[in-house]
Symmetry: C2
Subunit: 294 residues, 2 copies
Amino acid sequence: MQQKLEAFMDEQKSAVQQEIYDRLRGLDIPERLKASMVYSVEAGGKRLRPILLLAACQAYSDDTEVALTPAVALEMIHTYSLIHDDLPAMDDDDLRRGMPTNHKKYDEATAILAGDALLTYSFELIANDSGLTDQQKIRVIQSLSEVSGPKGMVAGQILDMKAEQRDITLGELETIHTHKTGELLRFAVATGAYLGGASNEQIAHLETFANYLGLIFQIQDDILDVTGDPDKIGKPVGSDKANNKNTYPKLLGLDEAIEKKSRYVQQAKEALHRADAASSYLAMLADYFSARDY
Amino acid sequence: MQQKLEAFMDEQKSAVQQEIYDRLRGLDIPERLKASMVYSVEAGGKRLRPILLLAACQAYSDDTEVALTPAVALEMIHTYSLIHDDLPAMDDDDLRRGMPTNHKKYDEATAILAGDALLTYSFELIANDSGLTDQQKIRVIQSLSEVSGPKGMVAGQILDMKAEQRDITLGELETIHTHKTGELLRFAVATGAYLGGASNEQIAHLETFANYLGLIFQIQDDILDVTGDPDKIGKPVGSDKANNKNTYPKLLGLDEAIEKKSRYVQQAKEALHRADAASSYLAMLADYFSARDY
C-alpha cells in the first residue's frame, strides 16, 4: 500500500516538475525576474497540492493529463504565497527548506515582484491551456481566485498575523488554518475531481474530505514540532513553543491533539466513502498526511 | 468638443466608481484587509484606464454595460501595482495623490496583502461576471493576465528599477514605459473594442493607437515635471531632474520632446482612422492626454 502510494506520488511529482520547468524556462522575460521565479518554484518541496489535485482526478478518470496545468498553477500560487509570507514585513524568514528565502537570495523588491508575477502567471496558464474547454477554464479560475484571494488565503494570512499577538481559541485556530492552508487543499481536491468527471454531489463530499485533510496536516505539523526528528523536519523542534505560537498541542495537550487527529482521519475517510472514492489514492494520502515524519 | 468629452468622462467615472464601491463594500472579509483595499481603490485618481476601456467599447456599440466589470478589474490591477510600487523596498513613497500611501496608512504587511488581494480579486470578478459569455471571460482574462504579469507590467517594473541606477537610451526608456504603463492601456482599448464588437483588424489598429497613447501620456508626464503648475500636478516641479530620472526632456531636450509628442498624437489619430473610430471619444482622449495640465 505504502509502496504503491509512493510510486504514484513520485510519478505525479515528476510530471508536475517537468511541466513547471517547461512553463517557466521558456518565458521571454527580464533575466533577474525569471531567475527569481524559477529559484523559488524549483526550490523543491513535496508538491503535495498538485499531487492531491491529480490524485482526485485519478479517482474518477484514467486521464489525469487534463488536470496538469491547473496542478502547476496551484503550485505557483502556493509558491507566491511562501515568497510573500517570508518577507521581512511578514514572517521575516531567512531560510526555507534549508535554502535562503527569495528576498535573501535576491532582494525584497525582486521577491515582491516574483510573487506578483507567479500569481498572475498562474491565471494566464489556465486561461491559455488548450486541453481545457472554456467552461472548464472558467470554473477552475473562479475557484482558484476565490480560494487564494481576499476571502481565502489572503484572509488567512491577515488573521494569522493578528493572532500572533495574543492567545486564541481552538475555533479561531481552525478558522485561520482553514483559510490559510485548507482552502488551497479544497481547491486541489475539488478541481481534480471536477476535471475527472465527478458529480457535484461527489465534489461536495470531497470538499468535506479536504477540510479534514487540511486540519490533519496542520495537527501533524504541530505535533512534529514537539516530537519530530530535527534532521527530518529540517528545523529545530520546539520552535513553535519558543515563539509562543498557537498550536494544537498548546491548546489541547499532546495526547488530545493526537486523538483529535485520529478522529479527523476517520471522518475524512467517511467523506471519501460518500464520494465513492474510498479505494482511491486519496484514502492513502489521508494516512500519509497523518503519519508523515517530515 | 471639450465639454462633450468631459461630460462623457464624468459619466463613465461615476459608473466605474459606483461599481467599485459595490464590489468592495459587500466583501465579507477581515476588516483590516477590506479597509486597506478600499482605502487605495477609493483614493481617487482620474480613472483613465477604465474610462479608456469604456470609450473603446462605445466606439463600436451603444451598450457599454458589458464592459463595466473588466473596467473595474483593470482599475483594481492598476491600484494593486501602485500599492506595491510605493512600498519601502520599491519606490519608498510616503504620499500618493497627497494622501499617505497604503503602507503608511496601515503597515507594510497589510499593504502587500491588500495588493495581492486586489490582483486576485480582479480575476475573480471577471470569472464571475454574469454579463459575459465564457468565451468573452477567457479572452479578457488571457489579455489581462498577459499585460499585467511577468511579460507585461511586472517586467516593466523590474526594468525600471534597474534603469534607475544608470543612464539609458531612448529605446530603453520606451521599452520600460511600454511595459510599465503602455500594456495596461493597450488592454483597456483592445478589450473595450472587443466587447463592443470590433473586428480583429480594427482591434489591431487600436492597439497601435494605444501604444502611441501610452507614450503621449508619459511624455506629457515628463513635460509637466518641467513646466507644470505644482498646485495642479500635486507635486513639486523638477523632482525628476533632482532624482536624476530618465525622462524625455532629459534625453531629447524640452522642445524636441514636445515635437515628438505632437507626432505621436498625429500617428495615434491615423491608427484610429484605420480602426474606423476617428470620430469616437478615443480621438478626443488622445488630445486630452496630450494637453492635460495635471
